[in-house]
Amino acid sequence: MVEQKKEVEVRDLHFTYPDGTVALKGVNLDIYENDFVGIIGQNGSGKTTLVKHFNGTLKPTSGKVLIEGADTTKSDFKHLAKRVGYVYQNPSYQLFCNSVEKEVEFGPTILGFSKDEIEQRVNDALKRMGLEKKRKEYPFFLSIGERQRLAIASILATNPSIIIVDEPTTGQDIRRAEEIMDLLIELHKEGRTIIVITHDMRIIADYVPKTVVMLNGKILTEGPTRQIFADPKTLLKAFVLPPQITRLAQKLGAYGIPPTPLNTAEMYGVLKNHLGSKKGKRS
């Protein structure tokens, strides 16, 4: 078997905020190259604090975080910024320039690319996010959905191999949510590693193959999403409920229904096999 390259290694990570809040209490986690990982858990369980260690925004109180093998406390900011892109929970918090274009230029400029290269990257990123026509606009005149796309565009311009998106679907209608998730799937196909934080279990079930569950600053469990949702007892400890369909299947376990369906189509198929016959129609 080909050994997968570890992209993110977290070793016994502890983190305490300056005000004394203990946010991480010994996290161990490996994320491999081209993984697509969801991080779930209650508010305050440490999800955002954990991923802020991946781009060096936070440095461990104790323990280690390695990005592509390099310790984040020893690598400089630019080195990390080229590798890890982080889209904040609220895109408005990370936008600060006078125009859409300048916002996207900022990353590659800081990283010291040539003028031509910067232009190329800005053009590509704006085109990809459908923002070419808005390049001269002031970011705060954009809608929330456009701001989110701008935040992603400014990350793409630095061409990171790891992309972290914190709560991408909050406050978005399902069209926006699906657009963002489809884009992440595309970026994943390009070989990037994608990490998504979300409370939306249907988004996890529909899009995210691997799931990490956090509780009280630690990792409670991790694994393939289907396997994670098939174990409602463990999930309940983290106050997480599987999607409705999975919960329904689990209630019907006595009739031989497996605990694993994740979406409506799967459940329909299972029920049809067990119950559906033209005969059923008669009764």
Binding site: Q42, R176, L275, G276
Partner: protein, 294 residues
């Protein structure tokens, strides 16, 4: 009627070219009713909320046509200071709403500004915190609270004005599932206990289907659907067209109703309903099989 809206039109800005954001809204909400307003981004949901506590037309520049009556007062004929106490507002982000450093001062802020005597303020604060089950957190700083708890304090702060109507604009979208359930349950209790009318903007129908009396679909400044959860969720095509996500079990029941393999008459709104119905199907099918076998 707790809220009565008649042919309401609104646009931001007075220019001829400014687009209408609300285009002829008619809506009646009864006392104690729990109404969920849903619809895609930028359909006018937040703007409609702002009309309910008279921030529109008084605090925004624009063109207002039609009538909004809350707690018996037409917003055209009354000062915002008369209307605002009748309508409590709670917004999406609990963090951005906190303005003081402890839970009790936060909840006291409204009544203090209305100049109530201290004893009354204290009474109102205690009552409001009890109502959201946060009485044990009176002297805590906001940072010691979870997202759901912060949002419950925001609700308490609105309740301390003893409003008739509570308007909540995506109150649970930043919350984890437990926090969401806490907030929705509290609202559901309040409307029974003090006949509070609740109007909630929410993307996620699945979360509030068990609590809501009525759902309203707003699209492009117009009300396209309005009805009980059962009536509302029948309109599968329309809702999908408007990017409203149906509860998973409701989707399942739509599939089953269309299928020749199942005989199903009623939509599923909750996991419990789906379970009971399918459990019955299994029982019947086993019974059928035993009979055939004998």
């Amino acid at each position: 009627m707790s809220v009565s809206i008649r042919d309401l039109w609104w646009k931001y800005g007075e220019e001829e070219t400014a687009p209408w954001v609300l285009k002829g809204i008619n809506l009646d909400v009864k006392e104690g009713e729990f109404v969920v307003i849903t619809g895609p981004n930028e359909s006018g949901k937040t703007t409609l909320c702002l009309c309910l506590n008279a921030l529109i037309p008084y605090n925004f520049l624009g063109v207002f046509k039609g009538h909004v009556k809350v707690a018996g007062m037409d917003s055209r004929d009354h000062e915002i200071s008369e209307l605002a106490p009748k309508v409590g507002m709670v917004f999406q982000d609990p963090d951005s709403q906190f303005i003081t450093l402890s839970v009790d001062t936060e909840v006291a802020f409204g009544p203090e500004n209305f100049g109530f005597p201290i004893s009354e303020i204290e009474e109102r604060v205690d009552w409001a915190l009890r109502a959201v089950r946060m009485e044990g957190y009176k002297y805590k700083p906001p940072r010691a609270l979870s997202g759901g708890q912060k949002q419950r304090v925001a609700i308490a702060a609105a309740l301390a004005m003893r409003p008739d109507i509570l308007v909540l604009d995506e109150p649970t979208s930043n919350l984890d599932p437990v926090g969401k359930a806490e907030v929705l349950e509290i609202i559901s209790e309040l409307r029974k206990e003090i006949k509070l009318t609740a109007i909630i903007v929410e993307h996620n129908v699945e979360d509030c289907v068990a609590f809501a009396d009525r759902f309203v679909l707003l699209y492009d400044g117009k009300i396209e659907l309005s009805g009980s959860p059962e009536e509302f969720l029948e309109h599968e095509e329309k809702l999908k067209e408007r990017w409203v996500r149906l509860p998973q079990v409701t989707e399942l029941s739509h599939l089953m109703m269309k299928s020749e393999h199942f005989y199903l008459k009623n939509l599923y709104l909750t996991v419990e309903q789906a379970y009971e119905s399918i459990d019955q199907m299994f029982r019947r099918s086993r019974l059928g099989r035993t009979k055939e076998g004998s």
